[in-house]
C-alpha cells in the first residue's frame, strides 16, 4: 500500500508545482533531461550510463509545449484516479486508447503516450510498474537449472525452469518483483537474441552440459527481461554473457543490457547489468571462423558510424570490432554457424569463446 501512496504523492506534487507556477505568475514549464546520445554520461558510482545535465523545457509558451503539459496533467489524473486509487492497471496500448476521450490532449500515436509515461518516470523517479502500467507483451523466456516462485494473481506457483516447463521455457512476468529465486545449479547466464539460437542450445542440451541459464531476449530486450538478467546476476552471483547476431543493431541490444539504453537511461540503475560481457557474434569471429556474411546496408554502415560516436561504445574493444566490421563490409547472423553443422555452435564455438573469456574452467 505504501508504494501506491508514494506514487500518488509524487504525481500530486507534480500537479501542485504546475498549479503554483500559475499562481505565482510563472509561465508553467516542466524541465526534463534531454534524451539524446549527447546527454548520457557514465556514472562511476553505479557503473552504468545515465542522463547528463542537459535539460529540455516543456513550456506552455508554445502550442506544442502547452499541449504536452495538458496531456501530462490528464495522464496524472488517470493514474491517480483510475489506477492507484482503484488498484487497477492498464497496458501502454490501452492508455493510448483511453486518451481518445481527452479531446485536445489526445495522443496521435502510441509512441507519444509511451514517451510521456517515460517522462513521468523521470519526473517522479519511479517506474511505470509503480503506476500500474504494463507492457503489451510479457518479457522473454528462461530455460535452465533454476527453481523459482512466482506470486501470481491466482496464488503462488513454484516451478523448475527445466523440469516444469515446456520447450519454450519459463515466461518472465512483466513485474519481476513477483519472482523469487529458490534454488539453482547454474554457473552462467547466456542471453540470446534469436529464438532460433535459443531453441538450438536447448535442443543440443547446452544448458545441462554447461550448467547454463538460457534467456531468450527476443530482439531489443523488454524491461522485465533486463531486470531478470540483472536479478540473476546480483542475487545468484552469476556471470552474464550476451550472444547476438553480428551487426550494429545487435550491439545496441548488448549495450542496453550492459550499459543502459538512451531512451531509458533514467532507469539504468534498475535495469543494467554492468558486468555483462559480449560473447558474440564478434566481427573478429567472422574472420576467425570464416562465417558466411551478408553485405552491410547503408543503414548498417550509418548505424556503425553512429556507434563510433556513441559514448557507450568508446572503448578500445568496440572501436576495434566496429572498425573491423566496416572494413569487412559484412555482417553475420547467429545462424551462420549452422553452415558448419548443427553441433558446431555448442561443441566448438561456445566452448572456445567461453574459455577465451575465462568463463569456462
Amino acid at each position: 500500500m505504501a508504494k501506491i501512496e508514494l506514487a500518488q504523492d509524487k504525481l500530486i506534487d507534480l500537479a501542485r508545482s504546475l498549479f503554483n507556477q500559475f499562481q505565482e505568475g510563472v509561465v508553467p514549464y516542466i524541465a526534463l533531461p534531454s534524451r539524446t546520445k549527447n546527454n548520457i554520461e557514465y556514472s562511476i558510482e553505479d557503473d552504468v550510463w545515465v542522463y547528463g545535465g542537459q535539460e529540455t523545457l516543456r513550456s506552455v509558451k508554445t502550442v506544442r509545449g502547452a499541449k504536452t503539459i495538458l496531456k501530462t496533467v490528464h495522464m496524472a489524473e488517470l493514474l491517480i484516479k483510475e489506477h492507484l486509487q482503484n488498484n487497477r492497471g492498464s497496458t501502454l496500448r490501452e492508455i493510448y486508447y483511453i486518451s481518445e476521450n481527452w479531446k485536445m490532449a489526445k495522443f496521435h500515436e502510441q509512441a507519444e503516450s509511451d514517451r510521456l509515461i517515460e517522462d513521468l518516470e523521470i519526473l517522479t523517479g519511479l517506474q511505470r510498474e509503480d503506476f500500474h502500467i504494463r507492457p503489451e507483451e510479457y518479457g522473454a523466456a528462461v530455460f535452465g537449472p533454476l527453481k523459482i516462485k512466482e506470486q501470481t494473481r491466482r496464488g503462488e506457483r513454484e516451478l523448475h525452469c527445466q523440469e516444469d516447463v515446456g520447450e519454450a521455457g519459463y515466461k518472465i512476468p512483466f513485474n519481476v518483483d513477483n519472482v523469487k529465486f529458490l534454488d539453482h545449479d547454474a554457473k552462467i547466464v547466456i542471453a540470446i537474441e534469436t529464438g532460433g539460437m535459443y531453441a538450438r542450445l536447448i535442443e543440443n542440451g547446452f544448458d545441462e552440459e554447461f550448467d547454463a541459464l538460457l534467456v531468450h531476449i527476443k530482439g531489443q530486450p523488454a524491461r522485465s527481461t533486463r531486470r531478470i538478467i540483472k536479478k540473476m546476476n546480483e542475487e545468484l552471483n552469476l556471470p552474464v554473457v550476451v550472444f547476438t547476431d553480428g551487426d550494429p543493431w545487435s550491439y545496441r541490444i548488448f549495450a542496453s543490457i550492459a550499459y543502459g539504453a538512451i531512451k531509458s537511461a533514467h532507469l539504468s540503475e534498475q535495469l543494467v547489468t554492468p558486468s555483462a560481457s559480449f560473447l558474440g557474434v564478434q566481427p573478429s569471429d567472422i574472420v576467425k571462423y570464416d562465417l558466411s556474411t551478408d553485405t552491410l546496408t547503408d543503414q548498417d554502415i550509418h548505424a556503425l558510424r553512429n556507434e563510433l560516436t556513441d559514448p557507450r561504445f568508446k572503448t578500445p574493444y568496440w572501436e576495434r570490432q566496429i572498425n573491423l566490421q566496416l572494413e569487412l563490409k559484412g555482417k553475420a547472423e547467429q545462424q551462420a554457424f549452422a553452415g558448419k553443422g548443427l553441433d558446431y555452435v555448442t561443441k566448438t564455438y561456445l566452448p572456445e569463446r567461453l574459455s577465451e573469456m575465462g568463463l569456462l574452467k
Binding site: 505568475g25 509561465v27 508553467p28 502547452a66 489524473e77
Partner: protein, 610 residues
C-alpha cells in the same frame, strides 16, 4: 593518283537537310513522345510570331489524332497567312526565314523548326506535309502537299491547288508522323501548351487530344504584347571579330558615321569620345582600320559610358500579366514579380522577368517547380543544363524563407518559380533550344531578379508569421491554458488557479491586478502593474471609488464625480518593469473596474481600456 587526291574526290558539301536526317536529336526529335511535342511547339511558335507581327490576337487550334500506327498533328491559326510563293520554302526548306538577320525578339530565329518537323514527318511516316493558307477573306485558300528534297535542301511540291476553307484568314498544317502521345504533367503537349498560355496571356489555345478530350487555355488579356522592333547591335559586349567584319563590309565611308549608324545607343558625343580614346580620325575609311586599331575601338567601347540598349527591341510580359497568368494556372496565396532593366551580352540586349507563386494548392513537401521561358517559348527539357536552373540553385533560399537542404539543388516548399528571358538572340546550349547557356552576364541578371522576388516572399512570410504567432498564442490562451487549470483543480481538489498573469506574460501584455485585504478596519488595496511587452508603455490608470482613498502611494490626481471619485495616475513602464500602487479605503467602499487610457485594448490584461 595521290591519296590526298583520291580522298578529295569523296569530299562534297552536305545539305543541311541531309545533316538533320542523320542528327535529328539535336533539333529535339530524340524520343517518340518528344517528337510530337517538338512538332506542336514549332508550329505554335510560328503561329504566335506571325500573329504578333500582324497585330492579331492569336486563336490557335491544336489536334493530335491517332491514324493507324502514326499520329496526325494539326495546328491551325488565325494569323495573317502566307503568300503562295513563300509557302513551299517556309515549310520545306531549312534555314529559310525572315528573322535571322534582324536584331529583335522573336520565338523562331533560324528558320529550322517547322521544316525540321516536316522532315521528321516525311522520314517517319513517308507522308508529305499538308498546308492550307489564306491571306484574306476574299482570297482563295491555297492547299499544298510538300516534301523536302534532302539532297538539295529544296522544297518539292507534290500537289498544289485551291480548296474550300471556312476561315477568313490563317494557316493550317497537318503532319503525319511516328511518335507516341503521353499526357504527363509537364513534358507533354498538354504541359507545353499550358506553359505557352502562362507566358502568352493574350493567346487562346484549344487542344484536342487523341482520346477526344478537349482542353481550352483561355486568354488572360485582350491586349497584344508590345511589338518588338529591330535594332542595331549594341557596342557593349560585341566581339573583335564581329567588329572587324562590320568595319570591312559597311557601306559607310567614314568611321564616325559608321559608329553612329551601325550601333544602337551611340550618338555624336559618344562617337567623338570613342575616336578620341582610340586615337583615330573620324573621317578615316572604315575599311582602312587595321586589326590593332579595331582593338583600340573595342577598348574605347568599354571605357565610355553608353546608354543601355533600347528596350523596344524586346517584348517583356510585364509584371501584372505574369501575376495574372500565374494566378490563372495555379491556385496561389501570393505572387511576387520582378523585372530587371535591359542588359547586354555580346552586343545582344536581354532582360529577365521573374514570377514567384507561393502557397495555395501547391505541394508543400517537394522541390519547387521551375518554369522556364525564352522569348515567350516554354523550355521543358534539359532543366538541369539551363542557366535559369543554375541561377536558381545558386541562391541561398534559406535567407528568403524557403527550405533549402544543404543549399544544393532547388529549394523545397509550396512555391512555383517562373523565369522569362527575352533577348534579340537567346544563347541556347544546343539547336534543340532546350536550355540557355551559362553566360555570366545572364546568370547574374537572373540571380538579381530571383533575389528580388525572394525578398518580397520573405517580407510576405514574415507578415504571415506574425499573424500566425498571434493566433497560436490565442489558441494557447483561449483553449489550452484553461483546460490545464481545470484539470489541475480536479486533481488537487482546489479552486482553479488564476491564469491571468501567465496569460499576460505569454501575450506580451500589460498586466493589471488588484488585491484587496481587510486590515485594521480598513480595506487595504494593492494594484500590481507589470509590463510584459517589449515596448515602453505610457498610459493613465483610473480607479473610480465611491469614497476618497487615503495613504495613496504614489500620489494620485483626484477628480470628484457625481457618484464618487476618479483617482488617476500617469504611468510609464519599461519592458519587464513592475509598478505597485497602494492605498486604503473605508469598509463598504464600492469599486469599479480599473480603466486604462492611452494604449491599445489588445495589449492590456485585467482592466478596461478606453
Amino acid at each position: 593518283m595521290e591519296i590526298a587526291e583520291e580522298l578529295a574526290k569523296q569530299q562534297r558539301a552536305i545539305s543541311v537537310a541531309e545533316f538533320f536526317e542523320k542528327n535529328r536529336q539535336i533539333l529535339g526529335f530524340d524520343s517518340a513522345p518528344r517528337s510530337i511535342i517538338t512538332c506542336v511547339k514549332e508550329a505554335v511558335d510560328n503561329s504566335l510570331d506571325a500573329c504578333e507581327d500582324a497585330g492579331i490576337l492569336p486563336d490557335i487550334f491544336v489536334q493530335i489524332k491517332r491514324k493507324g500506327d502514326y499520329f496526325q498533328v494539326i495546328v491551325e491559326d488565325n494569323g495573317p497567312g502566307i503568300i503562295a510563293e513563300e509557302i513551299p520554302r517556309v515549310f520545306a526548306k531549312m534555314l529559310y526565314g525572315s528573322r535571322f538577320h534582324t536584331l529583335r525578339q522573336s520565338r523562331g530565329q533560324q528558320g529550322i523548326g517547322i521544316s525540321a518537323a516536316v522532315l521528321y514527318g516525311q522520314l517517319t511516316s513517308g507522308k508529305p506535309a499538308k498546308v492550307i493558307s489564306k491571306i484574306g477573306p476574299n482570297r482563295p485558300a491555297l492547299y499544298y502537299e510538300l516534301i523536302i528534297n534532302t539532297a538539295k535542301n529544296e522544297p518539292e511540291i507534290l500537289h498544289k491547288g485551291e480548296i474550300n476553307w471556312d476561315q477568313p484568314r490563317g494557316t493550317r498544317i497537318e503532319l503525319e508522323m511516328g511518335g507516341s502521345y503521353v499526357r504527363s504533367r509537364r513534358q507533354s503537349v498538354f504541359g507545353y501548351l499550358k506553359n505557352v498560355a502562362i507566358v502568352n496571356p493574350h493567346t487562346r489555345i484549344t487542344l484536342v487530344e487523341p482520346d477526344g478530350n478537349t482542353e481550352l487555355f483561355e486568354r488572360a488579356t485582350e491586349t497584344l504584347p508590345k511589338k518588338a522592333y529591330a535594332i542595331q547591335p549594341h557596342p557593349s559586349g560585341i566581339e573583335l571579330g564581329e567588329l572587324i567584319r562590320l568595319l570591312r563590309y559597311t557601306e559607310r565611308k567614314k568611321l564616325g558615321v559608321f559608329l553612329k549608324e551601325t550601333f544602337s545607343s551611340i550618338g555624336s558625343i559618344a562617337t567623338q569620345e570613342i575616336c578620341k580614346l582610340a586615337d583615330l580620325e573620324p573621317d578615316r575609311s572604315p575599311q582602312s582600320i587595321n586589326h590593332e586599331e579595331a582593338k583600340r575601338i573595342l577598348a574605347a567601347f568599354k571605357n565610355i559610358k553608353v546608354k543601355s540598349p533600347p528596350i523596344d527591341c524586346l517584348s517583356p510580359i510585364g509584371e501584372d500579366l505574369i501575376k495574372a497568368s500565374l494566378e490563372k494556372e495555379f491556385k496561389l496565396d501570393f505572387v511576387a514579380t520582378a523585372t530587371r532593366p535591359v542588359s547586354v551580352f555580346s552586343g545582344n540586349p536581354f532582360l529577365v522577368e521573374v514570377g514567384l507563386g507561393y502557397g495555395g494548392e501547391l505541394d508543400k513537401e517537394g522541390r519547387i517547380d521551375i518554369i522556364r521561358f525564352a522569348n515567350r517559348v516554354p523550355l521543358i527539357y534539359q532543366q538541369g543544363a539551363c542557366a535559369i536552373t543554375h541561377a536558381a540553385e545558386s541562391i541561398p533560399w534559406k535567407n528568403y524563407s524557403l527550405a533549402h537542404s544543404n543549399s544544393l539543388g532547388l529549394p523545397t516548399g509550396p512555391a512555383v518559380l517562373m523565369v522569362h528571358i527575352a533577348s534579340t538572340n537567346i544563347p541556347f546550349t544546343s539547336e534543340s533550344k532546350d536550355a540557355i547557356a551559362d553566360l555570366p552576364d545572364i546568370l547574374s541578371e537572373i540571380e538579381l531578379a530571383l533575389k528580388e522576388v525572394g525578398r518580397k516572399l520573405r517580407r510576405y512570410l514574415a507578415r504571415q508569421s506574425v499573424l500566425s504567432e498571434r493566433s497560436e498564442k490565442e489558441e494557447i490562451i483561449r483553449k489550452i491554458l484553461p483546460s490545464i487549470a481545470k484539470k489541475l483543480s480536479e486533481i488537487l481538489g482546489e479552486n482553479e488557479p488564476d491564469i491571468s498573469s501567465v496569460v499576460a506574460k505569454i501575450m506580451g501584455n500589460l498586466l493589471i491586478k488588484r488585491v484587496v485585504d481587510q486590515k485594521d478596519g480598513l480595506l487595504s488595496v494593492k494594484i500590481d502593474i507589470e509590463n510584459h511587452s517589449e515596448l515602453i508603455r505610457s498610459f493613465k490608470l483610473h480607479e473610480v471609488l465611491s469614497q476618497g482613498a487615503s495613504s495613496v502611494m504614489p500620489e494620485a490626481k483626484l477628480i470628484p464625480m457625481s457618484d464618487g471619485y476618479d483617482h488617476y495616475w500617469k504611468l510609464s513602464l519599461s519592458p519587464n518593469e513592475q509598478q505597485l500602487i497602494t492605498y486604503q479605503v473605508r469598509l463598504g467602499t464600492k469599486f469599479s473596474e480599473i480603466v486604462i487610457e492611452g494604449i491599445e485594448p489588445e495589449v492590456v490584461t485585467g482592466a478596461r481600456v478606453i
